[in-house]
Amino acid sequence: MLQDIVKAAAAPSRRTLLKTGAATALVLGFHFAPRRAFAQAAQGAAPAPNAFVRIGTDNTVTVIAKHLEMGQGTYTGLATILAEELDADWKQVRVESAPADATRYNNLAMGPIQGTGGSSAIFNSFEQLRKAGAAARAMLVSAAAQSWGVPPGEITVSAGTIAHAKSRRSAAFGQFAAAAAKLPVPVEVKLKDPAAFKLIGRELPRVDTVAKTTGTAQFALDVRLPGMLTAVVARAPLFGATVKSFDPGKAKAVPGVRHIVQVPTGVAVVADNTWAALKGREALAVEWDESKAEKRGTKDLMEEYRKLADRPGTVAAKRGDVAAGFAADAKSIEARFDFPYLAHAPMEPLDCVVRITPTSCEIWAGDQFQTVDQMAAAAVLGLKPQQVKINTIFAGGSFGRRATPNSDYIAEGVQIAKAIRGAAPVRLLWTREDDIRGGRYRPLTHHWLKAALGADGMPAAWQHRIVSQSILAGTPFASMMIRNGIDGTSVEGASNLPYAIPNFQVELHSPEAGVPVLWWRSVGSTHTAFSTEIMIDELARAAGKDPVNYRLTLLQGHERHRGVLAVAAEKAGWGKELPKGRFQGVAVHESFRSVVAEVAELSVAGDGSFKVERVVCAVDCGIAVNPDVVRAQMEGGIGYGLSAALAEQVTLEGGKVVQSNFHDYTPLRITDMPKVEVHILQSTAAPTGVGEPGVPPIAPAVANALAVARNKPVRALPLRA
């Protein structure tokens, strides 16, 4: 996700170490100059010190996390990086969420906006937090050296203890926290040789586990403010429909209902508690204006997409001459693939708490896009973005859903608070039905892919046409990130296919539809990995070659791909005889700077029904800051990808979403979870993403095994439709 924001953003041009004075604590960090793009985000906000660590006189080390913890383990990873260079004891480390302030807490991979996504949290923070930790350490050492009258070079720091061996003196951090805070921040800091890492690379316990196993972790729905009311919104049954009229009479008569107000997204029912709000909404009569609504169903849309795929699209990537490649060829494979709309369906549905005054707005949410949300809230209320305070708390999953370019659910919460004139703090809840029917899906997508085999059995030509609604069109990101008519999120994973194919062309059609779409965990790779990895497998089999060896041959120069493929194949026992009814399939894919290979092992019954029994995964994500968290992300990514591959789809009939809850939008349950083994490749390279890269390979790996088992190619998802 947001990979292109990363590419579009210039590298940090200026890095300055700054510090803030604090009487009893050492607070410091780095200031990165905002870049030109999104300048409005930072406009008016004075550059301020960017604090990443606070050391208390009680010895606590509080790491300030600029990224949302939505399950991916980022609080633990960010704290580990800083604590490593600080030489803190893990037991003294706490994590606190950063306030919304892009001038200090921007995602370096996104430019001057604060946000979490694109599997970039550890990637963009690694150097920044190492430097912050090292600077804090140097200041503690200086303070101790001055106090003890010894050369700083003779002082050692280890596991939270500052020591001078010769004079047999030692102290905890807290003793020098105040003195260190008064010292100048070092301009240059020396970072550790990775061979000396003590915390990075260790399986430290997650900092959020205790709260998440005792019911004390706080999500937006758990926030309770004095006088707070709960709101639900009646939204249109069709995308693009608007309120024509409504009769609040019956709803208002429901005990506990306090306000019924129109907002841009529908009609909000605001009540003393959730049940009253839901009953009120049930009683509410709304008439909708459907004149401008999207009325096509998914069958209609897919039919249009298939026709579009017959025509040349905008070229997204090209080398050699595909026409010549096909003309000279004897054997070719042509395939069409269908992908449904997918809902993110995080377990915590969309929600936020909003409290406003004439001059301020305070939001509590598992907020993923603080800068964008600050601007959206400010625009609704006529405030400046910096008058909007966002308390970022845990998110109960997101998978992309909470990072919306138009801040949909946050802006809606603010609209309701505004509509009741700030009479009470408002807690907005989207029910599961609201979530499944609320749009912002992974786009419905169609692929046409034709490839030719040369006389040597290797691919001679490859032409790939993708038809997919643009995620970025119509958003503030469009002007910056759609280039030459290509929304990079539609073709990522296809346009940069790593295989050595001399004649190669990728084309894109971006049809418009009234169904809102969004990035969904691993974005374009959710579909590009599927079609490309199925085609490579079919080419290998058509050439009579082993699919793993075939890929290895075509991946010369892509050593990370070759590395994970070899490890996954070896650990899975690839090529060895399998018990009767067992089949293996493989796929490898790069996304978010990491490369993952997966071998899926299926048991397939005589009637073609199947179960994924085992998945062997190998990942190259650079240095694994916390190998257990990396493993967890691979396990979870495989489960999330398999969930969609098996049975998830949102369909529309006459513009109406058919599914509504978990009985007909059916995520993976424990009964379908395979045994997952994760192997992490040793690396000394800087860390890359792990939240998303585990997802793309699983669907094609399963499909490739199924194709062999059933002797019939797989062409559509979900597999159990």
Binding site: T213, R224, N273, T274, M347, L429, I638
Partner: protein
């Protein structure tokens, strides 16, 4: 308009209509927010509590039906198997986003209270009603086995 029951060992009287789901009575009225809303139709298990020792989806149980009963939520877990489950969850770092985990732990605790040595199949049977979008299922299974072992 008042429902009385025992909540985590304490007698409570909540001023709620009988038809309000127990989930909202516990969260909005009693103020215990460890029990989560995920679907409202007993499909995801995030709202699982114990009623008279049985795992129950509180989103689909009218508060009126809890009258006079013993209700335990994640905040009130105290049995030896339940504590073993929480300890195993922590040891294996089961949670990712954590939102569904109260419900997972309530289902797992109820399982171990009845079946001290569950097989994989027993676990699948007891836990199939609890969704986890982070797909922490492999660790859930391992943690239940680990908890069972620690109690043996």
């Amino acid at each position: 308009m008042a429902v009385s029951f025992t909540l985590n060992g304490r007698a409570v009287q909540l001023n709620v209509p009988d038809d309000m789901p127990l989930l909202w009575a516990i969260r909005d009225i009693a103020g215990l927010t460890g029990t989560k809303y995920g679907c409202g139709v007993a499909q995801c298990g995030a709202c699982t509590v114990h009623v008279e020792g049985e795992p129950v989806r509180s989103c689909a149980l009218p508060a009126g039906e809890a009258k006079g009963k013993k209700v335990i939520t994640i905040e009130g877990l105290a049995s030896k198997p339940a504590k073993a489950v929480q300890a195993a969850w922590q040891k294996l770092d089961v949670p990712q986003c954590g939102y569904c985990q109260s419900g997972q732990i309530m289902s797992a605790a109820a399982l171990l209270e009845k079946n001290p040595r569950p097989s994989d199949q027993d676990i699948d049977g007891a836990m199939a009603g609890n969704l986890c979008r982070c797909a922490t299922y492999q660790r859930i299974r391992a943690a239940i086995h680990a908890a069972a072992k620690s109690l043996a």
